[in-house]
């Protein structure tokens, strides 16, 4: 059986400078996968290539059995990929309410927004505020909430807990573990513990190449790991 998201021999980059080199990645139908690596390793670039913000130079990105590497971002998203970008992850001048409304444009569930607000009660108190004025942590919550509203089958999270208060991180982790039972989740995370609690499987990128991969526990125990994460 093919992987849900199947990446083969992927090269990608910006302008003329290549960032990803021959990346191979398989994501199962459900469960969490962590992507680790130090600053500038190419994690964000990988996410952008999966969601289509950056074109793949070479190689194949197959989702749900179909090659999507030539499809526009919005088509990929409508096919079921949700994405929380690392930066600029909310519509800054739109209110929180409108940000959530954008998230649920494609969704059919009526109470989806209420569900998100129950996870992040803080957002409920900020509904009419432009999202750009939210605090750093609130913004992340909103971004995650927005992505969840789209009923994705595969959720890409690029550092979802950066700047989030520890108490909330715990909440997010639990939700993600729950979510990973139903759908596929790819998480890029600096909190190793968190990442490996959510993920069953992990990839470690080093300068655009997959340097290490394996079951979460295995990777955790690998003595090489630290070397790849240090600057």
């Amino acid at each position: 059986m093919p992987e849900f998201l199947d990446i083969k021999h992927l090269d990608a980059g910006y302008g003329r400078s290549q960032v990803l080199f021959d990346v191979n990645l398989g994501i199962p139908w459900r469960g969490g996968v962590a992507v680790l690596g130090r600053n500038g390793a190419g994690k964000t670039t990988l996410m952008k290539t999966i969601v289509g913000e950056l074109p793949a130079w070479k190689g194949e990105v197959a989702f749900d059995g179909r090659d999507i590497s030539r499809r526009a971002t919005q088509e990929r998203v409508r096919a079921g990929i949700g994405y929380v970008p690392q930066e600029h992850s909310v519509f800054a001048r739109l209110s929180v309410r409108d940000n959530l409304a954008v998230g649920s444009l494609a969704s059919s569930k009526a109470d989806a927004v209420d569900h998100v607000l129950s996870i992040f009660p803080k957002l409920g108190q900020r509904l009419d505020q432009p999202a750009g004025t939210l605090s750093g942590g609130e913004r992340k919550m909103l971004a995650i909430g927005r992505a969840m509203l789209g009923d994705p089958k595969l959720l890409l999270l690029d550092e979802p807990t950066e700047g989030v208060w520890i108490g909330v991180i715990e909440e997010i982790t639990e939700r993600l573990i729950e979510l990973a039972k139903e759908i596929a989740v790819i998480i890029v995370e600096q909190h190793l513990d968190l990442a490996l609690r959510v993920a069953d499987y992990a990839y470690v990128l080093d300068r655009g190449r997959v340097a290490l991969q394996g079951e979460a526990g295995e990777v955790r125990g690998n003595p090489e790991l630290l070397r790849y994460l240090a600057p």
């Binding site: 130090r38 750093g136 700047g163 520890i166 600096q190 994460l229």
Partner: protein
């Protein structure tokens, strides 16, 4: 720990920065409700608190990015409440925003160079004779932050974490008396954080630091004193061990945001 002990502290060491009774109201929301912050010379001060507790807002009020609704900020014994950000920077303050904002099309080198010369007079800028000397400084900073090999790339081509480093380097470049860092290690791995901490240690000789962070271990490692904000109010302020022992602080760590 209470306001009383803060006051004692202030008397003992002459404070470099003193923000008192800061109130900031956004429409219906009171983001800061009489918050205070006192930082002594050569002190590393951590500012912590749940999301939305007003940390960034307090930093902005100090650096001049926001005008407090009420309250007073003094710096080196001068009341700077009415100063513009530029004037504050010239008085010796330097801020790194929570959201990175490097100058994207300029090279890393120029980004640093720009930060280095911020205080120069107009004539110096036009007829600068110091460029040769600045070169070494720029390269040293870039090397310190492991960015030297990218010196002549555009800043836009850096990853998020690399931009954080560039920003810290830029904030340091102005040789401030007080450095304000709002979540400088966001998006850095544990190891990278540690390196950042090491890079910050040497500046203690000539500079004070206010740093906002969520990573308690990191904060504990580098800070002398901590202030905890919650819902716009100072919940506690004191040395690291005092804070760790504080009941109400422990409470908010258990409480959901």
């Amino acid at each position: 720990m209470s306001a009383a002990s803060v006051r004692t502290q202030r008397r003992s060491a002459m404070p470099l920065l003193e923000a008192a009774g800061i109130k900031k109201i956004f429409g219906k929301l009171t983001a800061l409700d009489g918050a205070a912050l006192t930082v002594g010379e050569n002190e590393f001060h951590g500012l912590i608190g749940p999301n939305g507790s007003g940390k960034s807002t307090l930093m902005k009020c100090i650096a001049g990015a926001e005008v407090p609704t009420q309250g007073k900020v003094s710096f080196v014994n001068t009341d700077i409440t009415a100063f513009t950000p530029t004037e504050r920077a010239r008085a010796g303050m330097s801020l790194k925003f929570q959201i990175t904002s490097v100058l994207p099309t300029l090279t890393l080198y120029d980004n640093i160079l720009l930060a280095l010369q911020a205080q120069s007079s107009l004539l110096d800028l036009v007829f600068s004779r110091t460029r040769g000397a600045l070169h070494d400084q720029v390269m040293t900073m870039l090397t310190q932050f492991r960015l030297a090999d990218r010196a002549f790339d555009a800043a836009a081509a850096l990853s998020h974490g690399q931009q954080q480093w560039l920003e810290i380097a830029m904030a340091l470049a102005g040789k401030p008396k007080l450095l304000l860092l709002d979540e400088p290690t966001g998006g850095m791995s544990l190891e990278e954080r540690r390196v950042t901490g090491e890079l910050l240690q040497p500046i203690k000789k000539h500079c004070s630091l206010v740093i906002v962070e969520h990573d308690l271990d990191f904060i504990r490692d580098i800070c002398d004193r901590l202030t905890v904000l919650d819902q716009g109010k100072v919940l506690a302020s004191g040395t690291v061990s005092e804070i760790q022992a504080n009941k109400s602080v422990q409470e908010i760590y258990l409480r959901r945001a």
